[in-house]
Subunit: 331 residues, 3 copies
C-alpha cells in the first residue's frame, strides 16, 4: 500500500511521559491502607493540597488529558463514583462510567471478573473498581496491566476513604501526631473505622473507641493497635471523651450489616451528636463522618464550624485527584 | 517540610473570574418561571441565539472549561438530562451523570436530600436537579452554595422547558407580542402549559385554551391570566381556533396523571393534529409540542415546515447552554 | 434591541469543516457489513492503525473536539458501549451516555423510535444505537440527518464487531488473502460469525465451520459463501482442523438464544480450547473470540502468545475511533 501522509498530527496531545515515575505510586495498584507509610502519605497529602489550590483557582487542568479512567462499580455508590469522576474530569482526563451496579451485561452472560477487567483495560489507563466481594480488587489488580484503585471491596478495604479521612485531620488541625481521636458508633462492621485506625497506628496518637457492646472494635484489630504502643480507651458513652478529644469520628450503624433487625433497632440511635454535647467539646476540635448519616449527627450541628464532614467530602476529591495523578506518574 | 516546586502550572486552565457578574443570573438558582421578567428573558434569549451560532459554526467552545455540572435525576428523563449534558459538554465543561433514577445508593441508606446536595456540591460548580416531589429544587437551593437549576420537581415547575418554549416562539415568529397562542390537550395537569402560560402573561398576547371538559385549565391560573388583562377564549374544539392561531401548542394527555383509566381512554385521542387540519391554518404559524407525543400529532405533519417541535428540542439545548453560562457568570 | 458585542469568540473551537469529505464514509450511516468493499476496508484499517499509534503515543487528540456522540443503548452491552465511549473521548469528542437499557423514560411514555432519534440528533453529531429489534438501526438512520452507527440490532447486524474481527486478522497475520479460518461454536445464532463470514467472502480464503449439528451455519449463508467460490469444510470436531488453521474464531454458545435449556446443556461445553489442543496448532496462528467467554477457552490459554482475543478488544477501540473520525469527515 502506498504510504499516505498522516491525516493528523495529534492535535491537542499532551505528552504521556511520566514526569515523576519515582514518586512511589507510579503504575502501582491502590488496594489497601497497609501499603502506605508516613513518607508516601506526606507526599500524597502535599499533592492533594496542590489539587485543592488548583480546584479553587481554576477548577481544572490538562494534567491527565489523554488518559481514560474506567469507573467500574459492581454495586452502586453515588458518593464514591461521583468523587472519582469529578477528580478525573478536573484533571482533564476522560471517564468511562460503568456505575449502574445492577446489571452488567457481560457479567449476566457469565463473564469472570478477570475477563471483564482485561477487557476494560484495553480501553482505559486506570481502573477504579467497586465490588461487593472481599478480595475482588486484588484479583483485578493481579490480571490488569493498568493500575487498579480499590474503591471498596465489600467488608474488605476502602483505602481512599481512609486516606481522605487522615488528610482531613491533617488539614483541619495541622498535624496528626499528638492528637486524641475518638471513633464513635459501629466499630465492629465499620470498614472506614478499621482502615483509618490502621493508618493512625503509624502516628503518635491516643485512640478512644465508643460503641455499644455488640459493636465493639474486633479484638484482633484492638491487639494490633495495642501492639504498636498506642494508648487506647474504650467506653460505652461519648460523654466520657467529648471534653478531651481533638477528633470525633462518628459513623452510621449500618442496617445492612445486621441479620437481626431487633439488634439493629436497639443500637441505631445509641449516639446522637447534638449542639448540647458540642458545648462540652474543645474549641479547636473537629467532628467527622464518612457519610451518609441517618441520625447520628443532629443537622443543627452543621452550623458549628467544628463540623468538618462536608469539608471531608471535598478532601475526598483532592485525595483522589492526587492518587490518579500519582499512579499515572504525573505528580 | 521542605517546599518543593509546584509540579504543574495549571496547564490548560481558564480563568474562573466571572466575565459578567451583573447579568442578573450569576450564582442564582433557577427554580421557577416566576423569577423572570421581560428584561432578563431578552438577555437570556440573546445569549441563546449566540449559543445556536456557536453550535452551528464550531460545535463547542471552552467557555465553561474547568467547571463541573452534577446532573442529578431522582427520576429518569432522557430528553432533559441529555439536553443538559450536551449543553455543558458543548460549553467545554464536564458532567457527573447521576441519571439512573432508580436507586441512589446514599438515598437507599436513608440520606436526606439536603445531605446529598451538600455532598455533591463539593464536587461540582452547578447542580441540575430532577426530583419527583414538588419543592425539592427549593430545598436543594436553600442548602447549596452552588447554583441549583430545577429540571422538574414533580407536578411543580420545569422552568427550562417554559423558557425553551417561549424562546421557540420568539425565534420562529420573530416576536411574542401580538400573537394568538392556543394551548391544546391536557391543560389541567400539563406542567408545561401552566409554566408557559405564566410567562406569556408578561406579553401582549391572546390565549386560547382547547381541551375536553375534565382537562380544562385550573381556575386559579385562568383567573391569574384574566387579571393581567389577557384576552382568553376556551373551547372544546381545535377547529374553532385553527384558522386564526399563530402558535398551536399541543400536549400529550399524560396517562400517569389519571387514577381512572376509563377517563384516560375517553380523552387520550380527543385531539389529533392532521395534515388536513393544517390546511386550514395560516401560512405563517407554528405547531409546538413539548414531546414525547403518543398520537396527538400525526407523523405526516412532520414534513410541514410549520411543524416546529424538533426545532423546539434544539432550542432547549441553546437555552440550557445560555443558562449554564449565565449562572456561572460567563455570559 | 441594540446589538452588543459578542460575549465570547468561540475560544478553543476547532474547525468543523470536513478534512476528507470524499473518504466514502462522510455522513454515511454504518448499518451493515454489506456496505463495505475491499477498498473502503483498506482505507478504514489504515486509519485504525493510525488510531492505535495515536493511543499508544499520546492517548488522545482533539480531532473530534466540538462533536457530541449520543450513545443510545436500548439493551445493555458494557463492552460495546465502553468501547464507543472511549473511542469518542480519545478523539476529543464528548458523549451523551444513555446506556441503561432498562427504562427509557420517553419510551416508557410511549415515544416511537423515530421520535427518540429525531430528538437526540438535536443534541448530537452522531448516534450510536443498540436495539434489541432487527432493523431498528435502519429505521433510525432513515429519519436521522446525523450519521447512525449500528451497535447491534438484535439477531440482525453488529457491523463494528465484524470490522474489528477482520482488522484483527489483518493486524495479527499481516494479510487476509490465503488464510484458512475456522469458525467454532454457535454458528447458527452467532451474529458475529455471520457478519465476519460475509466480509471474508470478499477475500481469497478457506473457511471451516466447526459446530454441533443443531448449531450449524444456516443454509442460506452457506450457499452464499459457496456461490462466491470459497472452499468450505464442515465438521463436528475442532481436532479435524486445528493443525491447519491460521485463525481459530471461537464463539460462546449463547444460552439466551435457546428456548430448550436441555438442548443448551448438551452443547454448551461441546468445545473447549485447551493448552493441549493448542500444542497441535501452527506456531503462527491466532485464537480469536468476540467475548464474553464462559468456558469455551481455558484461561490457561491466555498466556499463549497466539491468544489474540484481548488484543482483539483493543482493536475494537481503534476501529471505532476510525469509524467515528471517518463519518464525521475528519479522517
Amino acid at each position: 500500500m502506498v504510504t499516505r501522509p498522516r491525516l493528523f498530527q495529534f492535535d491537542g496531545a499532551v505528552s504521556r511521559e511520566p514526569v515523576n515515575p519515582n514518586n512511589g505510586f507510579y503504575m502501582q495498584d491502590i488496594l489497601s491502607v497497609s501499603q502506605f507509610n508516613r513518607e508516601n502519605l506526606a507526599y500524597l497529602f502535599d499533592v492533594a493540597e496542590e489539587m485543592r489550590e488548583l480546584v479553587r483557582r481554576v477548577g481544572a487542568c490538562d494534567l491527565l488529558k489523554g488518559y481514560v479512567m474506567a469507573c467500574v462499580f459492581y454495586e452502586p455508590s453515588t458518593r464514591t463514583s461521583s468523587s472519582f469522576i469529578a477528580a478525573m474530569e478536573r484533571l482533564g482526563g476522560a471517564v468511562i462510567p460503568i456505575t449502574q451496579g445492577v446489571q452488567f451485561s457481560s457479567v449476566a452472560k457469565g463473564e469472570s471478573l478477570p475477563d471483564t477487567i482485561k477487557t476494560l483495560e484495553q480501553y482505559s489507563d486506570v481502573i477504579v473498581l467497586r465490588h461487593p466481594e472481599v478480595g475482588a480488587a486484588k484479583i483485578a489488580a493481579d490480571v490488569a496491566e493498568v493500575p487498579v484503585i480499590n474503591a471498596g471491596d465489600g467488608i474488605g478495604e476502602h483505602p481512599t476513604q481512609a486516606l481522605l479521612d487522615l488528610f482531613t485531620i491533617q488539614e483541619e488541625l495541622g498535624r496528626i501526631d499528638g492528637l486524641h481521636i475518638a471513633m464513635v458508633g459501629d466499630l465492629r462492621f465499620g470498614r472506614t473505622v478499621h482502615s483509618l485506625t490502621k493508618l493512625l497506628t503509624m502516628y503518635d496518637v491516643r485512640l478512644s473507641f465508643v460503641s455499644p457492646e455488640i459493636l465493639r472494635l474486633p479484638l484482633d484489630l484492638m491487639n494490633e493497635v495495642r501492639a504498636k504502643g498506642i494508648p487506647v480507651y474504650e467506653t460505652y458513652d461519648v460523654a466520657d471523651v467529648i471534653e478531651d478529644v481533638d477528633v470525633l469520628y462518628v459513623t452510621r450503624v449500618q442496617k445492612e450489616r445486621f441479620t437481626d433487625l431487633n439488634a439493629y433497632e436497639q443500637v441505631k440511635n445509641y449516639y446522637v451528636i447534638t449542639p448540647e454535647l458540642m458545648k462540652r467539646a474543645k474549641e479547636r476540635m473537629i467532628v467527622m463522618h464518612p457519610l451518609p448519616r441517618v441520625g447520628e449527627i443532629d443537622p443543627a450541628v452543621d452550623r458549628d464550624p467544628r463540623a468538618a464532614y462536608f469539608r471531608q467530602v471535598a478532601n475526598g476529591l483532592y485525595i483522589r485527584m492526587a492518587l490518579l495523578a500519582a499512579v499515572l506518574g504525573k505528580a
